[in-house]
Subunit: 352 residues, 4 copies
């Protein structure tokens, strides 16, 4: 764009291309260093180019600010990670589908208020989490749609007093459109990141509740499912122990992502318009929240196919009280009014 | 549906229709009462119908549970309120557009780090909030899409052992589709409500930051904008006071909605699958969060057109330091490398 | 104080005394009304006194502001409620002590990672919660100590330009000392209320985890404890149900109080010094958080003595793996090194 | 203790002493490594001792669990850091006292609702924050009192089946008393850490609001205070910029500590009794919250004495409306009833 608009001449443009390739090469070999004084990669790159290629380096910051460069970088990172999250969700949906095909028809008690309620199947139970991840897709898409606008050229929040071509840079960076109002580019800091984390919280809630269920269903008292010993841990004083720590970490990871969302929301929530240094603190919770979500999805992918049914325990758990509602409805089918049928079954249970 | 599937005969169906019309009429006249023992409207309606129409009343609970009835009710409430929120957002966007057309070109300092940065206009400032509300539209739509599935017939989370027609009831209630897995219906409690509130938080963040800006820009030190006295308050001991309380309430209201989102997320976050009474506590923060969002939008709609420019103050604020970057770029346009032009202007400022 | 400092004469003072007694009487009989225009009780009281007693009424606001009157009122409310909370905690500690004396020695499995770990007793389990409430005492005391300073006379945050006697009013209101810096009186808004709620969260965490344990231990799979049917609920479609909803509400109530603390922290967290209308929004979450804490304590007091042991289930649960560590240590007592003893027991378990 | 109770003989005891000294030495020289398989320092230490000193190493885990060792370590860390926090608070109080002595009498406008209210002084303003930090002392003390009980010997939450002397180890570790109930030791995980962070949030709220005030009072529009350029930053495109980033970071740091408190509260909030691996996730937010608090206090200590008054700006800001309440009260002193005096001044302002 700088070449097309003649802010760079052809020689400068080629020097920048060459210089950036050199820097990438140095970086890959661990030989490109950013000093404390340079503060960040943007200054280090400019300095390298200036020392080696003179005016090319001195012109590279034309039409931009460190501020909009950071905005671009964060947004590209988020979009890429949201796509990774979607990919892992789809793989997990696939994995669960296979598991359901194999194990799904085995009966299992359905619970309400932690008490036995009505019969269900391990397939119906597992499918509920599959459905949640499927629905997550639409939310993630809406967030990507929101983020898919280029802030490059918004400068420090008040544009660049130069005739730059924002459409061209948006297109080259792969953004769908330009985020035209530069003050809105700043306003969207934190606001957009909270949306990214909100989609992650939706997914993590499903995974955390799946893990909670499994922690209950792998107790010796319930005992419906198990994992082989290689996925479990022992204890430093209790030699008999087989613990499902991995589900506990998955359960708690939800909180890590929720706290990250909270942190991002609060940092940006009541600031005045325009950039504030506070907003730099959005990055750690954003990266933390995304990383934990990716890790948890990857862990779930490893564990999901390994989940074994304890068929005897499941069969023994299908006790008669689970069928009380079925009895009610078998009378409804014969024409008895629902309330009468319900009262009759209730009375017969109390008599026993 | 119950008639079509022959769980009700034609007489029972007509009696229920009549009875429900009577109840609605009594309710409108303040004469339909729900007693402590009845717990909720569902029991009260059934009892009324049973006392007056016998078997019709005893059959009305066929194919449903109080549980899925509540789910339906909450979801219809949310969808309706999200549509109201969208409508108010659009009106506010319209109102701001008109205000921008009238006032937008007046210059105004742009700030970063709360210090004067570069020139902008009151229109660009106002437009940034307009853009945020426009983008909110996509998020709200995605939430409505998520919620638009009928839980009726999921019973207490394990379906109804009777051949009911869930598609028919979904259609009659105006839902796009059936939420087929009944365990997922329970899993979505809280999970979906957190999404509703998340969309509200996005909108409230924009409104709260708009209010924050206005609290700063209406101080006597900045003084760029004002409202007439009828929108302001006084003090019980300071006779000179003109306070912009209304913006303070708008600013703080964001926190109310964020706390509601937090409460909903936490209540449902780590429960086992299946219904738990904990989930009843989702309702107060949901209603609180939605009401505060609607109130704040309505307040903004009243205030937005009333915002007056103090043109002298604005003109006086356009001091020379705001134009330093313009000077840099006027030299860039003449062919000076950006970094050289920047350093020259910086040196000249220090000399003064 | 106003009389002693001669801002009121003796007649005016007597009229105010009389007038306030009349107002109290009217109030008790539901006959003292506060109109929309009066905004609050302070204005209504002044108007009543002025209409009936002239100058006495016009002088009653001398030396104060609605602002510091509200501060006083909130603080007295908090101190009183914290004392109520302490009283209820002590009663619950007493109740649990009696229960432990009666039931404490019955063996019970101790769990880690939700798996059987080592033997314990129902007494040791119950005592852990008792200890938590005992330790809460020190925290509540520290909060009362913090709050026990009189803001009266701080006006709207910048004092009153009149020679009032703040020590005298502090003493008459029962405060330990004067909060002398009036700007600090404003700074403590929200800051102090978050401390009140933090002490409540400590207590609620103990009660919520007690309720969580009981929800697990009353499942049919564990079955260690039960309550009689009068404390449980049924279902609208499952006639067999006995649900422990009351523990679910207790578990979820923690979240309500945490959300209240969060709301208060956030409202006051990043304001400028001096009063802001935002701070008025501190009241609803404060009252909500305190009320839920009091309700939950009162509920626990009703339930605690009713908790029944299912002795057969408890006896059957004391299976051999719980004693693996005991075996290790019985060898340690005979002189075997801990790690050798541990490895031996671990090997013997694996062989079986 | 193990020697006194004869679980170690004198030779073994000496070997352990020697071995631990060696390990410390290796550690200081960066030569003691913990491998992935060893998981933590406890296993690495045991293995080192066993390889070098045989039975001494195999006996070192006698009477403890990794679980209670971690609990001890966290608690000692918290107590030490809370004492550091107290020390820094005292230094800051001292620094502010000196600053007040030097600058305190300069008049300054007092604000409510961000509008000029009544006259105050820079000393009164600064003192309000000093008072907050002084009051923090009592809260921190109460938390230390709570934490000052030794969990060593509680094993994994159900004690050690061996006659160990918990009082002796508590005393040697510097704890005030034994936390006797081992299930309570587990219950206090997270619960106690949330208290540590809550005290930190109290302090951080004061620092964050101080920083907020300074961000407002260093704008060019207010301009009451300044820092010299070495504490400020510039911009990559605006050559004129002098930004107070350091106060923005301080303002935002409050959120980091609040999010840490939130994370800790939520992880431990609704778990069953007994240890869960979830609790391991308490450590990162605990350390993050404490570190940020210490950093912010140290930064405040550097900045506080550097804060310069802009006397002309301050003098010019003392405009007449600030004295309206003084006028009211000068008439009250002459015997005019407060409300009459107030109404008279209000009318005279409106006339102008």
């Amino acid at each position: 764009m700088l070449l097309n608009r003649e802010f760079l001449n052809a020689v400068e443009f080629r020097n920048i291309e060459k210089g950036l390739a050199e820097i990438l090469d140095l970086w890959k070999n661990g030989k490109f260093h950013i000093s404390q004084e340079q503060e960040d990669c943007h200054a280090a790159i400019e300095q390298y180019l200036t020392e080696k290629y003179g005016s090319a380096g001195q012109k590279i910051h034309t039409g931009r600010s460190r501020n909009d460069q950071s905005l671009v970088m964060i947004r590209l990172y988020e979009i890429a990670q949201l796509k990774n999250i979607t990919k892992l969700c789809k793989e997990l949906v696939e994995t669960w589908s296979k598991w359901i095909k194999k194990n799904g028809k085995t009966p299992m008690p359905g619970y309400t208020h932690m008490q036995k309620a009505m019969p269900t199947t391990v397939g119906a139970w597992q499918e509920s989490y599959k459905n949640a991840l499927e629905d997550a897709g639409g939310l993630v898409e809406a967030v990507i749609e929101l983020l898919d606008q280029s802030p490059l050229g918004s400068g420090s929040g008040y544009g660049i007093p130069l005739d730059i071509d924002r459409k061209a840079t948006a297109h080259e960076l792969g953004f769908k459109k330009v985020q035209s109002n530069p003050i809105y580019c700043q306003l969207s800091r934190g606001l957009f990141e909270a949306q990214t984390l909100n989609a992650a919280v939706f997914i993590m809630t499903a995974l955390s509740r799946w893990a909670s269920d499994l922690l209950l269903f792998t107790t010796s008292e319930f005992g419906y499912f198990s994992l082989s010993a290689e996925f479990c841990t022992g204890s430093s004083i209790m030699p008999q122990k087989k613990n499902y720590d991995v589900f506990e970490i998955m359960r708690a990871n939800l909180t890590v992502v929720q706290a990250a969302q909270f942190e991002v929301q609060q940092i940006s929530g009541r600031l005045y318009s325009g950039y504030h240094r506070d907003l730099q603190l959005v990055k750690p919770p954003l990266v933390r929240g995304i990383s934990v979500t990716l890790d948890t999805l990857e862990t779930a992918l490893v564990l999901a196919p390994q989940l074994q049914l304890n068929k005897e325990k499941l069969a023994a758990s299908m006790t008669s009280e689970l069928f009380a509602t079925t009895k009610v409805y078998s009378n409804v089918k014969k024409g008895v009014a629902f309330r009468t049928a319900y009262d009759n079954v209730k009375r017969s249970i109390k008599r026993n």
